[in-house]
Amino acid sequence: MNVWIEKQRYIIDFTISSLMRRKVKNIGLLVLYTLIVFILASTMFFTYAIKREAAFILEGSPEIVVQNLVAGRHDLLPVSYLEEIKSIRGVANVESRLWGYFYDSLVGANYTLMTPPQNQDSHKNQGKTTVVENDNGDPHANHEAHALFEYEGALLESGTLIIGNGVARMRGIGKDDYMPFMAADGQIMNMKIVGKLSSVSELVSSDLILMSEADLRKLFGISPDKVTDAIVTVRNPSEIQTVAGKIKKRIHSARPIIRDEILRTYSSIFNWRGGMMIVIFSAAVLAFVIFAWDKASGLSAGERQEIGILKAVGWETGDVIQMKFWEGAIVSLSAFLGGVILAYIHVFFTGSAIFEPALEGWSNLYPNFTLTPFINAEQLTTLFFLTVIPYTVATIVPTWRAATIDPDSAMRHTGG
């Protein structure tokens, strides 16, 4: 065993000094290879982390959302539908939601305006008016202590706003500032900002503006008998699908969206198949594969001669193959480790700085969020097998041909 280890050490040493001989070429290859692994691993880390995070935080999203479709487009939902849905068996509760989009021409950003659920709020806000922002003292505190709104003593009432952190950042405004809106009837509504949603929650709340129901109706000119959509709570969670079916049957223009569909949307986001990244990237990968294949699988005349010498001085074919194995393993393992480490730093320490322009797209308001570093061991292993193994194999394969190099070729190549 000791002999075996010592032998491998010798072979590895020799391999490394062989690699160093063709420094520029091998380092160039390593850098390129690392870059490819880096991009792959970054994408992998980012998408997996965001999917896991989405799955976790959207677990609390509504069981069923009911939209009203008119001519294939969203329309406001008549309040009368709420009672109708409530009468369906298995429905525990029906609530309405009132929300919409607002384009801020000043900064060119889209906001999501919404009314927080009434009943819940009034009862929640009675005593609880705590701070969210800086609760670093005790991260394991009961999350109830993370009050959900930064009320700072003020209730959300008519004429006031609570804004998401992204909105505050975009407009450079904060608590006690005023934000003017032009209502549907042409009136100017000068709203006072009474609070800001926590920056921690930006991933879900960055572009939100919360306002009272009366203000929102006035701003958009929505009549009191209409709401945006309805939220249905079901008595027995296993019946969600059935209840959704019943709603569809009862109200023909309704489109129920169940929680599973929401979760599914986010589990298929950043899909491998879609995305311009993959199109551009696959070209890069292909180019690299060709390059690596050429580099790894071809034996240059120099290498053939070298293998001849090694065999002449007493190396077996097996030793030569082991040497080539180490060569492939060292290069690909270094690239794998380097790429993965850089990717981790990129995604979880620098907030995916390189992807940001692509993710931002044309949106002016982009949330600032740090991802929780969820790592999928399976994906890492897959990446390992996809990078290290093929390269190593590609390096070994041509050595089988080298096995046919007779040891006496070292004597022959000069004739004699």
Partner: protein
């Protein structure tokens, strides 16, 4: 050797992943609670259009207003796919 230090560093990062995902649990719970309280349905990832802001709420026609194969207006559209029952993965 550099390889070895690479493996050690990777191990440390995995440890970091483990500990910080534990440490950020409070934040995750906070976000989840906000989602629950405000009845939110989507992540605020792309604010450029209504069908990218609320991916799961987009109506079935919006994402392909003109033609299913038409070029998307927004780069973010290329990261997602429509949430149709028939389409998986």
């Amino acid at each position: 050797m550099t390889l070895l230090s690479g493996i050690v560093l990777l191990g440390l990062l995995m440890l970091h992943a483990f500990t910080s995902s534990q440490g950020q649990e409070a934040n995750l719970l906070h976000k989840a609670a906000l989602v629950k309280q405000l009845r939110l349905t989507d992540l605020c990832l792309f604010t450029e259009a209504r069908y990218t802001r609320h991916l799961s709420q987009a109506d079935l026609n919006t994402a392909f207003q003109d033609h299913p194969l038409s070029m998307e207006h927004f780069p973010s559209g290329s990261f997602t796919q429509p949430n149709l029952p028939g389409i998986t993965r």
